[in-house]
């Protein structure tokens, strides 16, 4: 009987410890996420209409397609309007991509595209804040692995609001119209 009771007590203790650990972990994680401020990133804190795109260098299709379209839109913008827009390419593969490689890559499309390389931990919080999900997936391929990722362009206002999402395959002329409209709307708040 005594043996049975002590076993029950032991089980209860284990359950309690596990429960407390899970709750503490969730609390700390939620606290960390709610305290996270992506605007500490100076490239994002710039009083401009900021476009964010999340991609990686080995991305064969969606990323170069997006960067080509955005570059085409930028080439059609007036210099005055162009100076009020910022485009950040957030790298989703910090294990494989270096900042130098990223700079060569983005400069090939347009000098206005700024590559951002974050640590994996910060990248996870940063992407979640903007509603972007990504997942490293091993492949039977020369690539070794790929990154499945959301492909929308996130538009952020100078007053730090997420304004909208632009689908990555939106034609350049539509992106241009959208950006020009936003610049007019936020005139006075832009620098």
């Amino acid at each position: 009987m005594g043996k049975f009771v002590s076993r029950e007590i032991f089980k209860t203790i284990i359950y309690t410890v596990v429960l407390i650990s899970v709750l503490t972990f969730s609390y700390l994680k939620t606290k960390k996420e709610s305290e996270y401020n992506p605007f500490r990133l100076k490239e994002l804190n710039n009083n401009k209409i900021t476009l964010l795109y999340f991609g990686f260098l080995s991305c064969p299709d969606a990323c170069p397609t997006t960067l080509s379209k955005i570059s085409a839109a930028f080439r059609e913008m007036s210099p005055e309007f162009l100076s009020q827009v910022s485009f950040l390419f957030i790298d989703l593969d910090p294990e494989r991509d270096t900042l130098l490689k990223l700079k060569n890559y983005t400069a090939f499309f347009h000098p206005k595209i700024i590559p951002i390389s974050l640590s994996l931990e910060e990248l996870s919080l940063f992407s979640r804040y903007f509603g972007i999900s990504f997942l490293k997936v091993p492949l039977k391929s020369a690539m070794g692995y790929t990154i499945d990722h959301s492909t929308q362009i996130v538009v952020v206002s100078p007053d730090r609001k997420i304004l909208k999402e632009i689908e990555h395959d939106t034609p350049a002329k539509n992106i241009l119209l959208e950006l020009n409209k936003l610049i007019v709307q936020y005139k006075g708040k832009l620098k």
Binding site: P60, P64, Y105, F109, S141, A142, M143
Partner: protein, 137 residues
Amino acid sequence: MKTIIPILLFFFTFSLLAADKMEIQDATIRSTPPGMNMSVIFFKVLNHTSEPIKLVMAEGLFAKKFELHNMEMLQGKMIMRPVTSILINSNSSTELKSGGFHIMVFDILKPIKKGEIYNIKLIFDNEKIIETKVLGN
């Protein structure tokens, strides 16, 4: 009636000629930024035969490795996976295009440039091999 027979004969002959024919249209390869050693090839394959055919492999001298891949949107995410073959139904066509099937090219020996021509071999499951030119874009 006399005029119809040669016309019918013409079409019959034409269809016979086309019977074992595969055709590749608008083959392009994406130009590469400095330091990138991979690219992607798109084209349209037309299968004028009465049999379904599968594209199973690609080769070329300008890169070390070629793979067939597919891309699709799934739950808001762009997913890319290797595939073992790409089907072209009988008397039909399949387009390798942005956001879908494509050929991934790895370890390119020099940067792919816009306007330059590259040669590839496409290997099908009926042992047919098509050599085609691909335009850098």
